[in-house]
């Protein structure tokens, strides 16, 4: 699944950096009806996790009130060079992941 990740490629040690993520997902609320009255079943991402060199640094529980194509922005302290791993988990066994690397000087 397509995901857009925005992490600075380089940072100074100890710098606070912003991480922005966007993933494509319908985030169907489960509260909508089709024109003939049938309920559209819920299909959302329920959980997002970000790990920095294996350590969890940010986690979010998402609900139907999160807009389609969930966007999340958060901060972390650049401690060491390495990899950010992102994981989205949702209804109907949905799972997608992405990663980004950073060089810390």
């Amino acid at each position: 699944m397509a995901a857009l990740i925005n992490v600075p490629a380089k940072a100074r040690r100890g710098e606070i950096i912003e991480i922005r993520t966007l993933t494509s997902h319908i985030m169907e609320t489960g509260f909508r009806h089709t024109a003939d009255g049938a309920l559209v079943p819920r299909d959302i991402i329920t959980s997002f996790t970000c790990r920095y060199n294996g350590t969890e640094i940010f986690r979010a529980d998402l609900f139907p009130a999160i807009a389609a194509n969930p966007y999340l922005s958060f901060f972390t302290v650049a401690k060491e060079s390495g990899k950010f791993e992102f994981e989205w988990i949702g209804d109907n066994g949905y799972s997608s992941s992405a990663s980004a690397s950073i060089t810390v000087e």
Partner: protein, 155 residues
């Protein structure tokens, strides 16, 4: 487990606090509908929720409730002994009161989270922060929505 001095002081402190200004701590919750109150109680338990510290950036007038930018920030040093543990966002009139829970740590550096949300009606949005000393702080914002989200018909 024996009660440590720290736990005892924490407990004594919170009892005194709740006892002296119960109106300030409880009124924001009572004024809102039952589902919202229940959802908030689910997160905070019996702890008092005080108003302040949390900043909620959201447009006051929204044309399209399907995607509303929202930023929650808390003035916190984010050190190992004084940081924001989590941020919880709720609404008053969507079919479900929860919007999102966000879990931070001292390594977050800055207590700020942004996302985009759906709003089904003109309503209140409540952001609650849990600090590392397990106190809860909240802010409430009223938002006017002209085109609702969530429950419209599918084409």
């Amino acid at each position: 487990m024996p009660t440590t001095r720290r736990q005892f002081l924490n407990l004594a402190g919170s009892v005194t606090f709740a006892g002296t200004i119960p109106i300030v701590t409880l009124r924001p919750l009572e004024a809102t509908p039952a589902m919202l109150t229940a959802a908030i109680r689910n997160v905070v338990g019996e702890a008092p929720v005080r108003t302040g510290k949390v900043k909620l950036d959201i447009p006051p007038l929204v044309e399209n409730g399907n995607t509303v930018p929202l930023t929650v920030s808390i003035a916190s040093p984010m050190t190992a002994d004084d940081y924001v543990k989590s941020i919880h966002v709720f609404n008053e009139k969507n079919p479900q009161p929860n919007i999102g829970n966000f879990y931070l740590s001292p390594s977050s550096g800055r207590a700020q989270v942004s996302t985009r949300i759906r709003l089904a009606d003109t309503q209140k949005v409540v952001a609650i922060a849990r600090l590392s000393d397990d106190t809860f702080w909240q802010v409430t914002t009223e938002i006017v929505v002209t085109l609702a989200a969530c429950t419209e018909e599918m084409n």
